[in-house]
C-alpha cells in the first residue's frame, strides 16, 4: 500500500470512528463530522479519489434533493449509483460521500454557494443547474454574484444541463464545454428582472425572456409542454409522477436531460415515476388517526409559491415557520409569499417563528390561524381529513421527529 493510500485509509478509519460517535452519542448522521476529519487529514487523497469517479453535481435554490434523487434513480437502471440524498451538500458532507463511495457513478446535491468549491475539488463531469432565487438572504445577499461564481466554475465542467427559463442559470451555464438547456418552466419570475450579461432590464414577453443585447432564452431540446408532458426532441412522454406540482415536472425534465446520454428517456421516466415518491420526508403522506397528513418542505418565496400551489382541495393547513440553522434568518421573506391560497382554509401555525407567520397572515386580513406550540397540537386543532403541512427547513425536521416520520 502506498504512503498516500495508507494515509487515506487511516484517515478514513478515524473519520468512520468520528461518524459512529456522532451517530451514537449525538444522533447525527455522522457524514459531516466524518467529512471534517477527512478534510483535515486527507483532503488531497479524497479529491484524488473523486477524479476516479464519474461525478454529477446538482444545484439550485429549490429542487436539489428531488432532482438528485431522480437522476440517481434514472442512472441506477444502468449502473450502481452513490448519492448524498440525505442532503449533506456542503464540503464536509460531499467529501464524506466521495470518500466512502464504492460505485463509479456518484450523484451529489451541492449547496448553491459551494458549487465553485465542488467543481474545483471534485471535478465533476456533469453539472445540472436548476434555478437561482432569493433564499437565505442573510447568507446569500445577492443572486447575480452567485450566478457569476457558477459561470466561472462551469468553464471547467464537461457537460452542463441547465434550466432555460432562469436567465441567471442560463448565463451561468454558458461557459460549460457542452451545454444543454431544458425548458422546465418556472412560476417564479421575481429574480429575473436584470440581464446578467449586460445589466439592462430583461423583457419577459409571454413565458419567454430576452434582452436588447442579444441574450435570449435558448432552444430547449428537452422541455415540459403546457399540458405537462415531457418533450424530448420530437417525442412526448406522460410523466405519471406521484410527486405533485409543476416544480416536480421541471425537476423531472432536468433529470431526464441529464441522464439521456446514458439512459433512454422512457426508461428514466418510468423508473423515476416508479421509485421516487418522497425525498427525505418531502411529499411524504402519513395517516394519523382520522387525518391524512402530507409533508411539504418550503424554504423561500419560490418554494412557498410552489408548495401553496400543491395544497389539496379542501385540506386544512399547518404552517410551520422557523428562522434557525439554514433557514432564512430575516423573516421579511414571508411578505414575498402570496398567501391568498390560504384564505378560507382551517389553519394552524407552529414553529419557533410562528408569530411572524401569524402577523404575515394578519396583515393580509387572514385572522383564522391558530398558533400552537407543536405539530401535534396543530393536528388536534384541525378537522379530520386532508391536512397539508408546509414547513421551513428546521421546522420540517422538527415536525418529522415529532410525528415519527422517517
Amino acid at each position: 500500500m502506498s504512503a498516500s493510500s495508507f494515509r487515506f485509509q487511516a484517515a478514513l478509519a478515524l473519520a468512520r470512528l468520528a461518524a459512529w460517535l456522532s451517530r451514537t452519542l449525538l444522533h447525527g448522521s455522522g457524514n459531516v463530522i466524518g467529512g471534517a476529519v477527512l478534510e483535515r487529514l486527507a483532503l488531497r487523497d479524497v479529491t484524488g479519489k473523486a477524479h476516479r469517479h464519474r461525478i454529477t453535481i446538482v444545484s439550485g435554490t429549490n429542487g436539489k434533493s428531488t432532482t438528485t434523487a431522480m437522476i440517481a434513480a434514472a442512472l441506477s437502471t444502468a449502473t450502481p449509483v452513490t448519492t448524498n440524498a440525505d442532503g449533506a451538500n456542503t464540503p464536509h458532507g460531499l467529501l464524506w460521500t466521495v470518500a466512502t463511495a464504492r460505485t463509479d457513478e456518484v450523484v451529489l446535491e451541492v449547496d448553491e454557494a459551494w458549487v465553485p468549491w465542488a467543481v474545483g475539488a471534485l471535478q465533476p463531469h456533469t453539472a445540472a443547474l436548476l434555478n437561482l432565487t432569493r433564499d437565505q438572504l442573510h447568507r446569500k445577499p445577492e443572486i447575480l454574484p452567485l450566478a457569476a461564481s457558477w459561470r466561472r466554475a462551469m468553464a471547467s465542467v464537461e457537460r452542463v444541463v441547465a434550466a432555460a427559463d432562469d436567465p441567471a442559470v442560463t448565463w451561468a451555464a454558458e461557459t460549460g464545454r457542452q451545454v444543454e438547456y431544458v425548458g422546465a418552466g418556472t412560476a417564479w419570475h421575481h429574480d429575473a428582472a436584470v440581464c446578467p450579461r449586460c445589466g439592462d432590464l430583461l423583457r419577459h414577453p409571454a413565458d419567454d425572456w430576452a434582452c436588447r443585447c442579444g441574450f435570449v432564452r435558448p432552444a430547449t431540446p428537452v422541455a415540459v409542454d403546457r399540458s405537462g408532458r415531457l418533450l424530448v426532441g420530437a417525442r412526448a412522454f406522460e410523466p405519471h409522477l406521484t410527486l405533485p406540482g409543476e416544480a416536480n415536472l421541471a425537476n423531472l425534465a432536468i433529470a431526464v436531460a441529464t441522464t439521456r446520454d446514458r439512459v433512454s428517456p422512457e426508461v428514466a421516466v418510468a423508473q423515476i415515476a416508479a421509485t421516487v415518491h418522497e425525498v427525505a420526508g418531502r411529499y411524504r403522506d402519513v395517516d394519523l388517526g382520522d387525518q391524512h397528513v402530507r409533508l411539504l418542505l418550503a424554504k423561500n418565496p419560490a418554494g412557498w409559491q410552489a408548495a401553496l400551489g400543491m395544497l389539496r382541495e379542501g385540506a386544512a393547513t399547518v404552517l410551520a415557520m422557523s428562522a434557525d440553522g439554514i433557514d432564512g434568518r430575516d423573516t421579511s421573506w414571508l411578505y414575498d409569499v402570496d398567501v391568498e391560497r390560504l384564505r378560507g382554509r382551517p389553519l394552524a401555525v407552529t414553529g419557533s417563528r410562528a408569530t411572524d407567520m401569524v402577523v404575515r397572515l394578519h396583515l393580509d386580513d387572514i385572522e383564522t390561524a391558530i398558533s400552537v406550540p407543536t405539530a401535534r397540537d396543530c393536528l388536534r386543532a384541525l378537522p379530520p381529513g386532508d391536512v397539508d403541512v408546509v414547513a421551513t427547513y428546521s421546522s420540517f425536521q422538527a415536525v418529522r421527529r415529532e410525528l415519527h416520520v422517517a
Partner: protein, 247 residues
C-alpha cells in the same frame, strides 16, 4: 376615491428583501384608521406618477439598484412629488438611491437622486442581523438589517434614532435619516410591518392629520417575543458591534 395612494416604485428591481411588504402593512394600518388606500405597483417600464401620497423604495442587489437609479434619474416625477409634499420611505438600496451619493459594489462613487442629504460608503464587513433602534420619532423600532452601506447624514438631516442593538448607519451609533417627509432606513422586517408606530407616522404625514394610536395585539405579541429573544441573546451582540469598525 381612495383617501391615499401608495406607489411601490419598481418592485421587480427594488424588492429583493421583501420590502413590498411595507405596502401591505401600510394598507392594513390605514384600514385600521378607517382610511381607504390604493396601492400602485410601478413597473420599471411605467412612468412614475407625481401624484401619489406615499412612495416606497425597497432593497435590492447592486445590478438592480443601478437599473432603478438610471430610470429614476431620467424622470423628474419623484423629485416633484417630494417638492409637493409626498412622503418617501426608502429602504436599504432605496436609501442609497435617494441619497446624494453612494458606493457601488465595485467601490466607485455613484451619484444618487439627492432627495436626502446623506452619503454612504462601504462598511468593512456586511451588517447582517436583527436591529433595534430607539427613535424619538416613533419609539422602539425593530427590524433586520442586511447591508454593506455606511451612511453619513448631512446637517439638515436627523437620524431615525440611536442603535440599541445592531449596526445601523455604521458609525456614530445611529440609524437612518429623516428630512421633512423623506425617510431613509436600513431596516427590513419589513420595517412598517414590524413597527405600527412608523406606519402611523407615515400615514399621519401623508394625510396631514395626527392619527390616534390603534392597538394591534397581533403585532405587539411579535414585538414582545423579539424583544425578549434579543435581550436573552446576551452580550454577544455587543461584541459584534465592537468588532464592526470602518477601515
Amino acid at each position: 376615491m381612495p383617501d391615499l395612494t401608495i406607489a411601490v416604485v419598481y418592485p421587480e428591481l427594488l424588492g429583493l428583501y421583501a420590502d413590498r411588504g411595507n405596502a401591505t402593512a401600510l394598507r392594513h394600518r390605514a384600514h385600521a384608521h378607517g382610511l381607504e388606500v390604493d396601492v400602485l405597483d410601478i413597473a420599471a417600464d411605467d412612468p412614475v406618477p407625481e401624484s401619489a401620497d406615499i412612495y416606497l423604495l425597497g432593497g435590492a442587489e447592486d445590478a438592480s439598484m443601478l437599473v432603478a437609479l438610471e430610470r429614476l434619474r431620467a424622470s423628474p416625477a419623484l423629485g416633484r412629488a417630494v417638492d409637493g409634499g409626498a412622503v418617501v420611505l426608502a429602504v436599504c438600496a432605496g436609501f442609497q438611491l435617494v441619497s446624494r451619493s453612494f458606493a457601488a459594489q465595485d467601490g466607485r462613487r455613484v451619484e444618487g437622486l439627492g432627495l436626502l442629504d446623506a452619503t454612504s460608503r462601504h462598511l468593512s464587513a456586511r451588517a447582517v442581523g436583527e436591529i433595534v433602534v430607539d427613535s424619538p420619532l416613533v419609539g422602539e423600532l425593530q427590524g433586520f438589517e442586511n447591508h454593506l452601506g455606511d451612511a453619513s447624514i448631512g446637517p439638515g438631516v436627523v437620524s431615525l434614532g440611536r442603535v440599541v442593538r445592531g449596526v445601523g448607519n455604521g458609525h456614530d451609533g445611529v440609524e437612518g435619516a429623516v428630512c421633512g417627509r423623506v425617510l431613509g432606513t436600513y431596516l427590513h422586517g419589513p420595517v412598517v410591518a414590524r413597527n405600527p408606530a412608523l406606519a402611523d407616522h407615515l400615514l399621519s404625514e401623508a394625510t396631514g392629520t395626527r392619527l390616534p394610536p390603534v392597538e394591534d395585539l397581533v403585532i405587539e405579541r411579535l414585538r414582545a417575543e423579539r424583544r425578549e429573544a434579543l435581550l436573552d441573546a446576551g452580550p454577544t451582540h455587543w461584541l459584534a458591534r465592537l468588532r464592526r469598525r470602518r477601515r
